[in-house]
């Protein structure tokens, strides 16, 4: 699949922030045997391998040989309910892209599924909770690192993490999670993607000759341990909603400005230029500049990264509402009121 145009989202839901992903299913009733392909904000490929993919495919074939006996266990792998069945019908995407025929111009890319969904929901004043922003969380968030050459074998357990608390050990082979047979790290991500906040999830691992049942507890706000701003889907969000690209001010650059590490300091990397179609140009209009350091948002000073700020605006400031920024520029404190889109 080289474009999102025509993908039936009631059947194919995967991490569309990736450059490569695979889906193995039974077309008779849409039973999903598994997903493959994972990436984190730090690395596009370190969680994937040909060896791991081969093992996942073999296991998918084994599940298929057991079909329909395994059907009920696989039920949870099917797609969640969607508002728009095809990406081209998501209101934000309508009329903006074309179906690929001979080249990639005007492509409705996979990441437009997430950005289109969020922007459409925003314009329609529909709720956008954390699960729509922090999608397909990596199990590393909970201290669980997997061996990429296997299906889902634990390679590392972070000290003090929820994974350690649950009793996971290096070498454990994850057999099921939330009752679903696991064939890849992407399958684990799928389960995390569908969980609430906070949540508990049961897992069964093979440890040597023994089978061990574990329970993983996910505390409130667990998704927010990572960022989502690395995803390509974020580009339309930052351009259209804020018109700003931001980065956390590094520690060594804070001291000269008298800023502690524990306070908000987001530097403006770029103000979206006027030639970006549909972008919010209010940042330009009110005079925000590249290099300005945001030290307050609506009076709040708690530390945020770009994902946190985007989420704050997306979830709390509908289009047309204002956000008040306190900004440091050349040693002076300035106040800007930005109208978000």
């Amino acid at each position: 699949v080289v474009q999102a145009w025509g993908i039936d989202l009631t059947r194919f839901q995967f991490d569309n922030g990736q450059s490569w992903a695979a889906f193995i299913l039974n077309v008779v009733d849409g039973t999903v045997y598994g997903r493959y392909g994972s990436r984190s904000e730090f690395d596009a490929s370190k969680h994937n391998s040909l060896e791991g993919f081969k093992k996942a495919l073999r296991e998918a074939l084994r599940l298929h040989s057991e079909y329909p006996g395994c059907k009920s266990a696989l039920k949870g792998k099917k797609s969640l309910k969607v508002n728009w069945r095809f990406p081209q019908f998501i209101p934000e995407n309508k009329g903006k892209y074309r179906q690929l025929t001979t080249d990639r111009r005007g492509c409705l890319c996979c990441h437009c599924v997430q950005s289109g969904d969020i922007l459409s929901r925003r314009n329609l004043r529909m709720p956008i909770d954390d699960s729509r922003l922090w999608v397909f969380p990596m199990p590393d968030l909970l201290g669980l690192g997997f061996d990429r050459t296997e299906m889902a074998t634990v390679r590392t357990v972070a000290p003090g993490s929820e994974a350690e608390e649950a009793g996971f050990q290096k070498g454990d082979r994850l057999i099921t999670m939330a009752g679903q047979p696991i064939i890849s790290i992407a399958d684990v991500q799928w389960i995390l993607h569908t969980l609430r906040d906070p949540a508990r999830v049961r897992a069964t691992v093979r440890r040597g000759d023994a089978t061990v049942d574990l329970e993983l507890e996910l505390p409130k706000g667990w998704r927010r341990r990572s960022g989502f701003a690395w995803r390509r889907a974020t580009w339309p969000l930052r351009q259209k909603i804020l018109g700003l690209v931001l980065e956390v001010l590094p520690s060594k650059e804070r001291k000269p400005l008298g800023l502690e590490d524990v306070v908000l300091a987001l530097r403006i990397k770029n103000v979206t230029p006027p030639n970006v179609k549909g972008s919010n140009q209010d940042a330009n209009a009110i005079g925000l500049r590249k290099g300005d350091v945001i030290i307050g948002v609506d009076g709040k000073r708690k530390p945020m990264n770009e994902s946190d700020l985007l989420a704050y605006v997306i979830q709390n400031r509908p289009p047309g509402r204002k956000v008040v920024f306190s900004v440091l520029r050349g040693g002076k404190r300035l106040r800007f009121v930005l109208t978000v889109k």
Partner: protein, 57 residues
């Protein structure tokens, strides 16, 4: 057992599909993949009773 393998979702007729494949640098010298035709892939999987592998890229 084997799988039906599919590497694109859209039904784009004959020459266009080849042009698209060439433009995107997707060689398939052994002609193993059902390229750019989800519905053909689904039909083939149904007919053969095999699972379907879809690759998104």
């Amino acid at each position: 057992m084997a799988m039906v393998v599919l590497t694109a979702a859209m039904a784009v007729a004959g020459d266009g599909k080849e042009k698209l494949r060439a433009a995107l640098g997707d060689p398939d010298p052994d002609n193993l993949w059902v390229y750019d035709d989800l519905y053909r892939g689904i039909a083939l999987a149904k007919k053969t009773g095999k699972p379907l592998l879809v690759v998104f890229r």
